[in-house]
Amino acid sequence: MARRRRDFWWTVTVLGFLSVLAFLVYPLGTVFVTSFTGEEKRFVLADNYHRFLTHRYYYSSLINSLYLSALATLGALLVGTTLAFAVARYPLPGKTFLRTAANLALLSPPFIGAYSWVVLFGRMGLVNRALGTIGWGLPTIYGWRGILLVFIVQYFPFVFLLVSAALRSVDQSIEDAALSLGSPPRRTFTTAILPVIAPSLTAGALLVFMATMADFGTPMIIGEGLRTLPTLMYGEFINELGGNPAMASTLGSFLILVNSAALMAQRYYAFRRAYNVVCIQPLRVQRAGGVRLMVLTLFAYGVVAVALIPSLTIIISSFMPTRGPVMYAGFSLQSYRTIFHLVPRAIANTFLLTALAVVLDVLLGVLVAYLLARRRSRAHALLDGLIMLAYAIPGTVVGVGLIVVFNRPPIILTGTWVILLVSYFIRHLPYPVRSCTAMLQQIDLRVEEASVSLGVPPFRTFLKVTLPLMFPAILSGAALAWMTTIGELSSSILLYSGPWATMSVAIFTEVFSNHFGTASALASILIAAAFVPLFLTYRMLGERAALGM
C-alpha cells in the first residue's frame, strides 16, 4: 500500500504543485524580485525601499493601512464578540433572525457596501439631500471614518460566526466548575471561558485584519484620495503617465509581508492553545434583568440593521429613477433596462468565469484535500501551506504578479479571459480544500479500509464511499468559493481587458462615472447571485454545516 507509484494521486500532487507554483509562487516571487529593480530593469538594491521609506507619499499608505486595519479589527472584535455572547447567553427575541441577518451581511462584496453608504450619506446621498432640504447639514461619509465604518460593518460577521461556533463547543460544566470552585462570574469568564474560545477569537481577528489590509474597493470608493497600500499599489501600476511596476511591487511586498506575518502570528498563537473540548451540554442561556436584556436587544438589532442597510439600500435604489448620482423617489426599471442594454457582456462574463473557476476549484480542491488528509507527506504539507498562502495574499498583489509574469513569452495571457480565470481559480482554491480536509478528518479511515477489504480497490472506494460522505463539504466549499469569486474586484480591475470586463468592474466604473442607478442594478444582481447558492446549501445542510469552515 505504501509503495510509491506514479498513480492517479501522484498526478494530482503534481497538478496541485504546478497550479500553485505557476499561478501563485512564481508571480509573487516575481513581484518580490521586481521590487528590487530600477528604471532600466537593472537590479538595484533597496532603491525602491529607500524611496518608500523617505517619501511621505509612499510610507503614509503603510501607516494608513495598518492604522485602519488595526482599528477595524478591534471594532469588529468588539461588535462581533458582544453579539455572539448576547445571542448565545441571553434570551434575546428572534435569535434565528439575528443569526441569519449577520450571515447575510457577508454576502455583498465590501466595495458595494462602501458604495451603498455613499448612496445614503454621500454628497448627493439620499439622507444628506433629504436633511439638506430641511436645512440640516450633515458631515459626509468620505474619508477614514467612512472606511472604518464599512470595514467594521462588513467584517464583524467573521468574528461573530467563529466566536458563536466556539461558544457552542464550551460545555456548561466548565463554567459550573469554575463557579463552584469559588470564582466570581467575571473572573470565571476571563479564566475559564475566554481561554477556550481564544483560538477562534484570534482566528476571527486575523480574517478581519487580512481582509481589511487587502480591501481595494472600499478605500477607493469612499476614501476620497486616502492612500492605503492596495489603492496606492493600483495607482502606481496603472498610471496614466506610465506605470511604475517596480514601486507597485515594493508596495505589494509590504502587503505580502504584513499579511503573512499576521497569519503566522495567529497560527503560532492558536496552535499552542488549541484545546480539545468535548461539549455534551452547551452553555446555558442566562436569566438577565430587564435593563440589561433591553440594552443587549437594542444593541443586537441595531448592529444587524446597520449590517443589512447596504444590501437593502442597493436593492431599493436599483428600482428608483436616477439621473447621474441623484436618485428620485418612485419606481422604475430604467436602471435594469440600461444595464442589459449597456453591459450584458459583463454579466455573462461574470457568471461564466465564476462558474468555471468554482468547478476547477472544486475538482482540484476535493482531490488535493484527500491527499492532504489521507496521504500526508512532507511534500503535501508544503502544498497545504502554499495553497493557504492564497488566503493571505491580497488580490491586487496577485493581479500585478500575474500581469508581470504572463505578459511576456513564452505564455502571454494578458488581455484574455484566461488570466481572470487563473486569478479566480487560485485565490479561491483554499475554500473547497479547507472544507473538504475538515470533513475528511471526521470521516473514519476505517470506513474506507472496510470498503477496500470488501473487495473494492482504493480509487473506486474513493468514488463510492469517500466522495458521497464528503458531499456536504464539497457543497459548502463550492458555495463559499462562488460567493467570494462572483464579486471579486481587486484583481479583476487589473486583469480585465476590453470585452472581458466583469460585473464588479462594471459597477466600479459606473460608480466613478456617477451612474449610481446602473451601479445599483448591477450590484443587486451580484448580491442575488451570491445569495442563491448559499441559501440552497443552507437549506440542504443547515446553518452549521454550510458555514463550517
Binding site: R3, D444, R446, V447, E449, S453, L454, P458
Partner: protein, 364 residues
Amino acid sequence: MTRIRVEGIVKRFGDTPAINGVSLDVRPGELFTLVGPSGCGKTTLLRIIAGLLEQDAGHILFNEDRMDDVPPYLRNIGVVFQNYAIFPHLTVGENIAYGLKARRVPSERIAAKVAEAARLVQLEGLVDRMPAQLSGGQQQRVVLARALTIEPRLLLMDEPLSNLDAKLRVQIRSLIRQLQRELRITTIYVTHDQEEALAISDTIAVMDRGRVLQIGRPWELYLTPAGRFVADFIGTMNVLRGTVTGPGPAPGEVIAAMAFGERWSVPGAGGSGQPVSVGVRPESLQLAPGPGPENSWQPLTGTVSEVVYLGSVVRYQLQVADALQVTAEIHNPDFSALHGVGERLRLWVAASRLVPLPEEGGAG
C-alpha cells in the same frame, strides 16, 4: 477452510519495532485470538494480515498461497472494526450487499444473500434503515453481516466489542462464536480483554512488545503460563518466592524455605540455596485444608488488610510478610467464611495447584 500462517513478520514504525518477528499457525476453522496490552502490536499484526499495512519482513500464507503482494481488495477477507466502520450513507441492506456488488453477483442472488445474512445476525426487518437509526449493537451486527456475506477465506475482528456496554458485549460475543462455528470460518480476533479471550477462543496467543509470549488453549495459558507476564495478564497470580533447602518428596519437587517463613514443597529443581518462585491463583487458596494427605496442603498466614464482598465471592487482601500481599478468593462463602480487616487468617493451597514460574520470569 483456510489455514493461516504468519512467518517471521517484522514491522517498524520509524526506529521502533512494532512487530518483532512473529510467527503463528492458525488451524482451519478455528477462532484464534491475539491478546495483549495496548501497544503490544496485535492490531498492527491484524492490519498486516488484512493487507492494510505492509510488513518489513516475513510472509503471510493462506493455505499454500503467499499473500505478501496481494492487495487488500483481492485477499477476500472480512474485517470487523472496533468502531464499526459502517457506511453511513448506505442503508443496512446496501451495507450488507456492498462486497457482493463489488464481486458483480447478480442482483437476485444479492437480495437472497442479504436476507439470509440479516437473518443470521438477527436484523430482519431493519434492512431498509439508515445506520444512524440503529443502536451500537445493531450497527456491529450489520458490520458482521457485511463481512460474512462475501464468504471470506478469513474473518478478522479488531476489538469488535469494546464500544458496547457490558450486557451487549456478552450477547454479541456469543453470537460471533455461534456464527463462526456454524460457518466454520477461520477467524483471527484481537482483544485486550483477557476474559473475552478466554471465553471466545479456540487458541490464544499472548503478545507483549511486538512478540508472542505463549500460544495455547485457554486453559493451558491459565493453568500453565509460560512466564510471569502471561501468568499476570491472564487472570491474577500471587507470586511467592523462596530458597531451596533440599529435594522434595516426589521428583520435580523441592523443599523450599518461603520468604514468609513457612517450609513448602514446591515444583522446581535446583540444589540448596537456589531461589525458586511459584504462582498461586487467588481461588486456589482456601480456609481449611481439603481432603488428601495432610502434607499435600501448604499453609500461609496473614492479616486481612482489605475485604471485598461480592455475594458469590469474597475477596481478601492479606498482608503475609513485609513486602508481600496475597489475594485470596473464597467462593460461595457462608457466614463462617466472612472475616474482617485486621483478623489473622490461615489459608491452605494444594501442592498440585502450585504453578511453577521460571525465576524472574522473562518470556519463554
